[in-house]
């Protein structure tokens, strides 16, 4: 018996007697062949009282530098937005936290309605009529869009902008290798997808095209133009979107995008070192029955009252098995709840205000940093919440050292682009959220300026 189990000695005697066995071990001995029974205790540490587990996990936490421990401008796919307290409270409610997938809709109306509301919010955000109730996260959502295209048109070629998040490109490649599709990558020019190379890459064998908005360098792409280039091909046009900038950016539904996917972390979810969060997945009406994952739909009960159910389940693995549109089962219901609560908390005006604020602060930060010695803009495209600069410090190793210098001063200046882009070895990707004030930007400029100067001085000394 542990703190979580409840079989007292008296219970045990009664239970064994009812079953008709002499011991618990007998239940195992009679069912598991001796040669595969584990004849020893697991080689794991002894269990601990709650207070000690807490202390251990707290000690581990203390050995991480979180967003409360430094002024961070790290982005590159996840962003330190403020998560309002109502989200903690609602997600902590047993009623949302502990049920499973709403297989019994009569006692799952809370979850099902949340899904329905979430789908509505995503549909509004993307300007697309169809949303599922979430997939795992961003990059696998991109890969799932690839599988949708594979099922929809069977064409073997995927044209992928190099502006997509590196993890999205890698994940798509992993999936595509399985179901048999070939990736053609299109490079960036002036910070955005090279329009000519993009158009040239798309042909009758193209099953899907993929771009990111904004792209990994923070640049706003001309999504309409990218989509238009695929208009005459069979390709499914897939856009990977950062949802927060959609407060000010033209939505995919108005740009000719067929499937809009993306990372939902920024919508009310913690950073959590990368997960759990959720991926959103929205599409035009044409792909409704190709969608992966759960979808909630409205209906009525036996008394004619409004209610919600999981619908179009014939797409899903538990019904269709090998013919399913996806193998996804457990997805991210709780994280999607955070998403719709966050969007509700922001509200119609708030999302726009947030976007406009980021636009101004990002512009200001770009101005401030590119005014520093040794710092230049990597591109001049419009940016909403993230931008890239080049540091004249001799490439990726220099950039990494500059970052380390800044972190020593309590500022994390961003992401070294050289980790993923050889061609931007001197690149630094700087992200803003509403939690980074003008004062924080000043501090970044001060610390980064000093770090670049110090790095260059050290390099000179080393060279001399």
């Amino acid at each position: 018996m542990s703190q979580y189990t409840a079989v007292t000695d008296a219970d045990l005697a009664e239970m064994l007697s009812a079953i008709g066995v002499g011991s618990v071990q007998e239940l195992f001995d009679r069912q598991i062949p001796a040669d595969v029974r584990l004849g020893r205790p697991l080689d794991l540490p002894e269990g601990m009282p709650e207070q000690d587990v807490y202390a251990h996990l707290r000690d581990l936490a203390a050995r991480n530098t979180g967003a409360e421990d430094e002024i961070t401008f790290l982005g590159a796919g996840m962003y330190d937005h403020y998560v309002p307290a109502v989200i903690d409270m609602l997600l902590g409610r047993s009623e949302f936290l502990t049920p499973y997938t709403p297989y019994q809709p009569e006692v799952s109306q809370g979850n099902l309605q949340v899904m329905f509301e979430y789908q509505t919010a995503i549909s509004e955000l993307t300007g697309l009529p169809v949303s599922n109730a979430s997939v795992y996260e961003g990059p696998s959502a991109v890969a799932s869009a690839g599988y949708l295209a594979r099922l929809a048109n069977g064409r073997p070629k995927f044209v992928v902008s190099r502006g997509l998040h590196p993890h999205s490109r890698e994940t798509l490649a992993t999936y595509a290798h399985g179901f048999g599709a070939e990736i053609v990558e299109v490079g960036l020019r002036d910070g955005v997808t090279d329009p000519e190379a993009w158009a040239a890459a798309i042909d009758g064998e193209t099953g899907a095209v993929f771009f990111a908005q904004p792209n990994f360098l923070g640049a706003v792409e001309d999504a309409e133009a990218l989509a238009a280039a695929a208009k005459d091909s069979p390709a499914v046009v897939v856009g990977q979107y950062d949802p927060i900038p959609l407060g000010v950016l033209k939505p995919p539904g108005e740009c000719g995008v067929d499937v809009a996917v993306g990372e939902g972390q920024t919508l009310g979810n913690r950073l959590d070192f990368g997960g759990p969060s959720f991926g959103f997945f929205a599409a035009t009406e044409a792909y409704l029955r190709r969608m992966p994952g759960r979808i909630a739909g409205e209906t009525v009960d036996a008394d004619g009252r409004r209610g919600f159910v999981l619908t179009l389940q014939t797409r899903e693995q538990h019904i269709r098995r090998e013919k399913a549109t996806s193998n996804i089962c457990t997805a991210q219901a709780l994280n999607a709840l955070a998403g719709v609560v966050y969007l509700t908390w922001l509200g119609r005006e708030g999302l726009v205000e947030l976007g406009e604020l980021l636009l101004q602060r990002t512009h200001h930060a770009r101005e401030r940093l590119t005014a520093l010695d040794g710092v230049t803009a990597l591109h001049d495209q419009p940016v909403v919440r993230e931008f890239a600069v080049a540091l004249d410090v001799g490439g990726t190793d220099g950039v990494r050292r500059v970052i380390a210098r800044c972190q020593e001063a309590g500022v994390n200046p961003g992401y070294a682009l050289g980790r993923d882009y050889e061609e931007y070895g001197d690149g630094l990707l700087v992200a803003l959220t509403e939690q980074r004030s003008a004062a924080d930007i000043d501090r970044l400029a001060e610390v980064l300026g000093a770090a670049v100067a110090a790095e260059r001085a050290d390099a000179e000394v080393a060279a001399s």
């Binding site: 542990s2 109502v86 006692v107 979808i295 726009v352």
Partner: protein, 491 residues
């Protein structure tokens, strides 16, 4: 009252959000973002105050059945108690506000936690090499089949089929297709295990893998597992362990010792994550030595000095990434806390009690004399779950398994899984888990007996159940026929 969504509440101009002030020199917004890239009208999100927001979601939350309120014996889902300590530790800002792109030197606690969790999962499964990356069990399955593909390709082989028993979870065949293979079904023998003859007949050099759950979805531990492994390995295929049922055997038997090459864990099942209404989950995989080179990158490595790093090229023949970043770290924190709390002995106690509780519930149902209406589908004993067939009940009493399930709602219980596994007619898959008390199991058995007795008098009661739930039976056909999957918004 008619259910109203958040989009039907509030009024224009209300808000819960207070925007931070513009604290930088204002630039011309249209210059920063030209009109052709701009949104012309705001997304029509709800407009409510914070009190309205809170009340709306608190109220609808109470239209859910949840594990903290009642028994939830949903077979194959392992709805065990969720310790609240886990939510507390996961919320610590050093975990919850740790950026996934933080440099490893500044994430040593997180990497140590993941390293320790990998080792613990390796020990529980008997397969030493672990990747925590997959987001859920089905994602782990995909990883496993893609690893299998890489394994064969590395040997210059293109195989085309994957074997799955007809008792398997639906995710198994769906995964096979996604990974570019063709499903070949394997039959079940009279004891509920794999039909060895059928397996031998189908196991050939075109088979890439056999995906198995053991104990399987019938709650039956396959006694021929060693022979099955031999057959599979003899044709050069891999043996995949669907870990959904791991809760039956922790500390008692290990997939690695049975001959499995790959196992996925459902952290949200065996290692108790809150199920969240359908996620998040986490589906780490553990593999044998020969599968190791193909594991997903990045790999957590420990240096001589005890420090940890993420090696993006840790596995040279890696299948690549399956998602962004390092996996669902927030889930790792919780399951790691669980393992720390229970230790070796506690995990074994969990599985022993899970199996004890399942067998006791089965015995109790027999005591109530329901066995003739709801017989056990296979065998005499069970592991952590068991499958009853509602076929005689349907024939004799005129109520289906679905009716029984709906009537259980009126008794305050979440029903077991229904109509799965598919090979059992009118199946009822019951998994009580180890965290339930004997009193609860007694009450549940009595409720089943009462429903059968009631149906013998008047089957219409169950046929029209439930009566006491927030809504009554819902018209699923209508929902699918004319999908209404979002709230229409007028303004």
């Amino acid at each position: 009252d008619r259910a109203t969504t958040i989009f039907e509440k509030g009024a224009a101009g209300r808000r819960a959000f207070v925007a931070p002030k513009l604290d930088v020199p204002e630039a011309d917004a249209d210059t920063l973002l030209p009109a052709h890239l701009r949104r012309s009208a705001p997304a029509r999100l709800p407009e409510v105050s914070e009190p309205e927001l809170v009340r709306h979601y608190v109220k609808i939350s109470r239209r859910n059945f949840d594990l903290d309120t009642g028994f939830y014996p949903l077979g194959s889902c392992t709805m065990k108690h969720n310790p609240r300590l886990h939510e507390r530790v996961a919320a610590l800002s050093g975990h919850s506000r740790l950026h996934p792109m933080q440099s490893p030197e500044h994430a040593q606690g997180a990497l140590e936690l993941m390293y320790n969790l990998e080792r613990a999962l390796g020990e529980v499964s008997g397969l030493p090499h672990v990747s925590l990356q997959p987001s859920a069990g089905s994602h782990g399955e995909l990883a496993g089949v893609l690893l299998t593909r890489a394994f064969h390709e590395d040997r210059g082989q293109q195989r085309h089929t994957v074997l799955t028993p007809d008792t398997s979870h639906g995710t198994n065949p769906a995964t096979v297709t996604m990974a570019g293979y063709t499903v070949v079904k394997v039959g079940t023998n009279v004891d509920g295990g794999v039909d060895l003859d059928d397996l031998r007949a189908k196991a050939d050099e075109d088979v890439a893998c056999l995906m198995l759950t053991n104990p399987n979805t019938l709650g039956v531990f396959d006694p021929n597992i060693t022979e099955i492994a031999r057959i599979v390995h003899d044709v050069g295929a891999t043996l995949y362990y669907d870990g959904a049922n791991l809760n039956a055997i922790m500390g008692k038997a290990r997939p690695g010792d049975m001959g499995f090459d790959i196992v996925h864990f459902n952290l949200h099942k065996s290692f108790t994550q809150p199920h969240g209404g359908g996620g998040p989950g986490s589906g780490p995989i553990a593999v044998s030595e020969r599968m190791r080179p193909y594991l997903m990158n990045p790999r957590i490595v420990r240096a001589q000095d005890g420090s940890f790093d993420l090696d993006e090229q840790g596995y040279e023949k890696s299948i690549g990434r399956l998602r962004g970043f390092q996996g669902n770290y927030g889930c790792f924190v919780r399951s790691y806390a669980y393992i720390c709390s229970l230790g070796a002995e506690g995990l074994r106690d969990a599985s022993e009690t899970a199996v004890l509780n399942a067998n006791y519930l089965l015995a109790k149902l027999r005591e109530h004399g329901v066995a003739d209406k709801l017989p056990l589908a296979f065998g005499e004993l069970c592991m952590h779950e068991f499958v009853l067939s509602g076929s005689p009940m349907k024939k004799d009493l005129g109520i289906k398994t679905l009716d029984l399930a709906k009537r259980l709602l009126d008794h305050g219980y979440h029903p077991p899984t229904v109509y799965f596994p598919l090979l059992v007619d009118e199946a009822l898959l019951v998994e009580p888990t180890e965290t339930e008390t004997k009193e609860t199991l007694d009450g549940f058995a009595a409720a089943i007996a009462a429903i059968l007795a009631e149906a013998a008098e008047d089957p219409a009661i169950a046929q029209n159940a439930p009566y006491t739930t927030p809504v009554r039976r819902l018209d699923e056909a209508a929902a699918a026929k004319t999908p209404r999957i979002r709230q229409p918004i007028e303004t």
